[in-house]
């Protein structure tokens, strides 16, 4: 594209001006269109999730910070309950906000998905504590420790795997970006050299 053509293009584009105020309103509307608007039923659904999250937060919180029972004095158990109660706070916050505002913001969407997955996992582990652990604790305290250790091992593995995948994903983007930046500079340099040669 030579200079004359560039000027022509610019002059042509200037013939159709989009004033800044209207442009800003338009951009605002685009942002709003990218957010997911919730129907009445979905809002009720999110309100229910927030309600569940709130009660879970209280239950997990009381186990994490309350007086320990005979087998609840295990550090591993209390650590899990702390983790679960913090996850519940985040989940309650996101789902509650979605229910109140009636909108899921584009930036909030991955957080809602992530906290929901974490909560699903926490419920599974909590079920184990309610139904499996009390039975086995009567039999052997060593077995209980092994079981809790395994649960934690699984939880930490999952978190570790997700973290590694996230790091790899970001690393791939970063290296790709760096390569493109170098490629861009080389193309820029080649263009300048060509321009010099021609002049």
């Amino acid at each position: 594209m030579n200079e004359l053509n560039k000027t022509f293009r610019e002059r042509l584009l200037n013939m159709e001006t989009l004033n800044s105020a209207r442009g800003e309103i338009s951009r605002e509307q685009i942002r709003a269109m990218l957010d997911t608007r919730l129907s009445g039923i979905k809002r009720i659904g999110f309100a229910l999730l927030a309600f569940v999250g709130f009660w879970t937060m209280i239950v997990f919180g009381s186990h994490a910070f309350g007086d320990p029972n005979d087998w609840e004095d295990l550090v591993i158990y209390q650590l899990f309950m702390m983790f679960a109660s913090f996850a519940s706070v985040a989940w309650t916050g996101f789902t509650g906000w979605a229910a109140i505002s009636g909108v899921i913001r584009r930036t909030h969407r991955p957080w809602i998905v992530a906290t929901t997955l974490v909560m699903g996992f926490c419920y599974l582990v909590a079920m184990m504590y309610v139904f499996v652990v009390p039975v086995s604790v009567l039999e052997s305290r060593t077995e209980l420790g092994t079981q809790l250790g395994l649960i934690w091992f699984f939880l930490l593995n999952t978190i570790g795997l997700c973290t590694i995948l996230g790091v790899l994903y970001r690393g791939q983007y970063k290296s790709q970006e760096k390569l493109l930046e170098i490629e861009y500079r080389l193309a820029d340099l080649a263009e300048k050299l060509k321009g010099k040669e021609q002049s």
Binding site: R11, L18, Q29, I30
Partner: protein, 185 residues
């Protein structure tokens, strides 16, 4: 498009895919005006054109992850803008009426196809006087963001058809400009 511009497009797409706000804003800032110009050539009403532009951006931002060739970003953007504008227009006009309009203009034109780029203002207003099909191909040509092959892919027609449409469009525009000149004299 030069190699450098193509790399810049890929870089921009990559940054947008990472969800970087400044990259998204840069994309909107860079392409808002040409896309709006193109859409305005397809849709007469300014408010409707603005609405189509908004819908185009929503489609673009939602589909950015599926873009296979980031270096062909301009063609992809114009393609989405075109599809959005056409689906908007389809509600108003039938394809047949658009085609008739094109034929009528094609049959009536004559003369030199060379257009002076100094007459930007006249060309801009002249574009609104030629048929939609011709206006569309000529606008893409004038905006200079796409090669003829890319224009063919945006319009979903063969390269030969693009060339012939372009030729007829230039003749039509030239005739309109001549007509304007003679009416002023």
């Amino acid at each position: 498009m030069t190699e450098k511009e193509a790399i810049a497009c890929e870089l921009l797409v990559l940054r947008c895919r990472q969800g970087r706000k400044e990259a998204l804003e840069e994309m909107v800032r860079t392409w808002e005006r040409p896309l709006f110009y193109y859409i305005r050539r397809l849709i007469d009403d300014e408010d409707e054109a603005l609405h189509v532009l908004q819908q185009t951006w929503v489609c673009v931002l939602q589909g950015l992850r599926t873009l296979r060739e980031p270096r062909k970003l301009p063609a992809w953007l114009y393609g989405i803008a075109r599809k959005t504008a056409l689906s908007h227009l389809r509600a108003r006009y039938s394809e047949r009426s658009l085609f008739r309009e094109e034929q009528a203009t094609r049959d009536s034109e004559d003369g030199d196809v060379h257009l002076s780029v100094d007459r930007v203002e006249e060309i801009h207003y002249g574009l609104s006087r030629i048929s939609l099909v011709q206006r569309e191909v000529l606008t893409l040509f004038f905006l200079q963001d796409l090669s003829l092959e890319e224009i063919a892919s945006v319009l979903e027609i063969p390269l030969g058809t693009v060339k012939s449409r372009l030729h007829h469009a230039k003749r039509a525009l030239k005739a309109v400009l001549k007509q304007e000149e003679s009416s002023h004299e």
